[in-house]
Symmetry: C2
Subunit: 340 residues, 2 copies
DNA sequence: ATGAAAGCGCTAACAG
DNA sequence: CTGTTAGCGCTTTCAT
């Protein structure tokens, strides 16, 4: 079963293998690359020799020569307080799906987390490294302009985030504004009369969610206020607690920017004796696994993460092929459970 | 602020830059690499030119020449039913920390998820690709033997997982057996008299957790049974539900292999009208964020993920330096909340 | 169908 | 201190 330890590793280069097979390096290269113009017998011999010795071509050398690496860069810019949020479930889940999609397409994934404040050059540096054929940016953070700049001169880039009228970079993301509308409509339909948006309205995705909710609230003559909250769980809990005691009785419908925040909010509401959904209605965003497991289970706006990952990869592949693709805006879906 | 678009990209190679600076490529290479033997003025000129034109050395070429890439491979083998568990929180959180640690040490991270059943050669292939200087394996899955084999001939590899007496590969992980003991002790101290272990005892980590719990149970003369459960949330819920109705009344203390499973279990217990901790005590494992947010909050065995990531990276760095490091076993910590 | 040779972009001797 | 040279391992013309 297991190969001969001595043999393994001794044949390191295509030249070694060529010597063994009694042919030239060029022929080995062609055989292993599956090119048509190689004698069947020669190919067979080379392949069996390669297998026997556990030979694998050096991808760096191959990449250098062919000017393509077979690697896609995935970069997560960490803005403001996102810094703490090391394991943001949503991004991590998206990353998992991306890994699967890219693998399926034969690409490797190079992951980089960057702090744009400390390194203004983060995106150019990654692209210019020569290590990647294309790049997927997960989240626009506060780097919209930088991304726009880069997009002008670099085709194989796709970004997960919010779509804005007339933007120049190719983005894949949920229609956050529509999602916000769905959330507000649900809260109001469930009987809420005074709304609040819980979250940071700095990042564009969240700003759009808030804007959508405000559209609906204004149209229906329902007041809505913003309760600024950081996303890092440690700060969030305290902030939410403060909000809740401050707004006590003045709000009966809360739209949380993410399920994570909603779950935290639920905990704080309970701690203060407020009952969901009877006293306060609550709607989240994302439909992460946790949404099913809270008490009561969360009504939330679902983002289709798997579809997002597929979209990112498919668009990137087309861009790698020279295609100047359009952005892809995915529809959110209201999932009604018991919190509103 | 933003560089001249025309200039950017036009200077692609170290040779281009050398021509501009009126020196040889060798000098540019030395200057950019920060070698000492370069005239201060020359260096300055080269650096400013490099900055001006947004020049970045091609890492593939550099890697090929120096026989090191500055990239660490991180591979997640997906065994049996782990396949579905695309976004297993624990691994994903560990991955996030790894990314941070590696970045801090100046390494890039190449992520690969593999299905060993479909590709017996998964580990050799990654190592042999020439793209990575070392590899971190996240989880032994059912690949213990394969990893052992590779460890014999390849130094720069560190594995997250369970430590077994006399194993040959360098592993970092929590003392699962001790964790299991802590869990069982807590359940019994809280008044449980008939225990159950909820989870799959196939993976070694889980087997060790179960074994630890059994040690305690047997010593104290308390019965304990295993309730085999897959880890993928979709299958788990149904299986847990079945277990709960089957064992009704025969178990008053449950040790779940992970917090995720514990949270699911809590939901199912509630659905059947069983009260935690009054009717049934429950202890989880991991101390993921979700553990604080369940109702009631979970008593659980904490794994220090950040310390794990640091350990993995530090040991790997030492191995890259030729050091044959020992394994690192981290102490688990019982976190008492309200479920037991 | 195969071999020979050039070279991807960079670095590391070795001279000077 | 700097230029020259010879590759790292692979792919790809161009010959044959």
């Amino acid at each position: 079963m297991s190969e001969d330890k001595a043999a393994r590793g001794s044949v390191r280069t295509i030249t070694d293998l060529a010597r063994l097979a009694g042919v030239s390096p060029g022929t080995v290269s062609r055989a292993l690359a599956g090119k048509s113009l190689v004698n069947a017998k020669t190919r067979e011999k080379i392949e069996s020799l390669a297998r026997e010795h556990g030979f694998r071509p050096n991808q760096m050398a191959s990449g250098l020569r062919r000017q393509k690496t077979g690697v896609i860069g995935v970069v997560i810019p960490l803005g403001h307080d996102t810094r703490q949020q090391i394991s943001d479930s949503f991004f991590m889940t998206l990353l998992g799906h991306l890994a699967d999609e890219l693998t399926r397409e034969g690409y490797d994934l190079m992951l980089r987390r960057v702090v744009p404040e400390d390194d203004a050059d983060w995106l150019d540096r990654f692209i210019g490294s020569g290590m990647i054929d294309g790049v997927i940016v997960i989240g626009q953070s506060d780097q919209f302009e930088r991304i726009e700049d880069v997009a002008d001169g670099y085709l194989p880039m796709v970004v997960w985030g919010n779509h804005t009228q007339g933007q120049r970079h190719c983005v894949v993301g949920t229609d956050n504004r529509l999602g916000g509308k769905l959330a507000a409509e649900r809260l109001i339909a469930a009987g809420a009369t005074r709304l609040a948006f819980l979250g940071d309205t700095g990042p564009m995705e969240f700003a759009a969610r808030f804007a959508g909710a405000r559209d609906v609230a204004e149209r229906l003559g329902v007041p809505i206020m913003a309760l600024p909250t950081h996303l890092s769980p440690d700060r969030a809990s305290a902030e939410i607690a403060r909000h809740i005691s401050a707004i006590d009785g003045q709000v009966d419908g809360i739209f949380a920017a993410t399920d994570t925040l909603a779950a935290l909010c639920l905990t704080e509401l309970r701690a203060r004796g407020l009952v969901v959904p009877d006293g306060v209605k609550l709607v989240g965003f994302d439909d992460l696994p946790i949404a099913r497991q809270t008490v009561p289970p969360l009504t939330t706006v679902r983002q289709d993460i798997a579809a997002g990952a597929r979209g990112l990869v498919q668009l990137l592949l087309r861009r790698l092929g020279g295609d100047e693709t359009e952005s892809l805006v995915l529809p959110p879906q209201l999932v009604i459970r018991h919190s509103a």
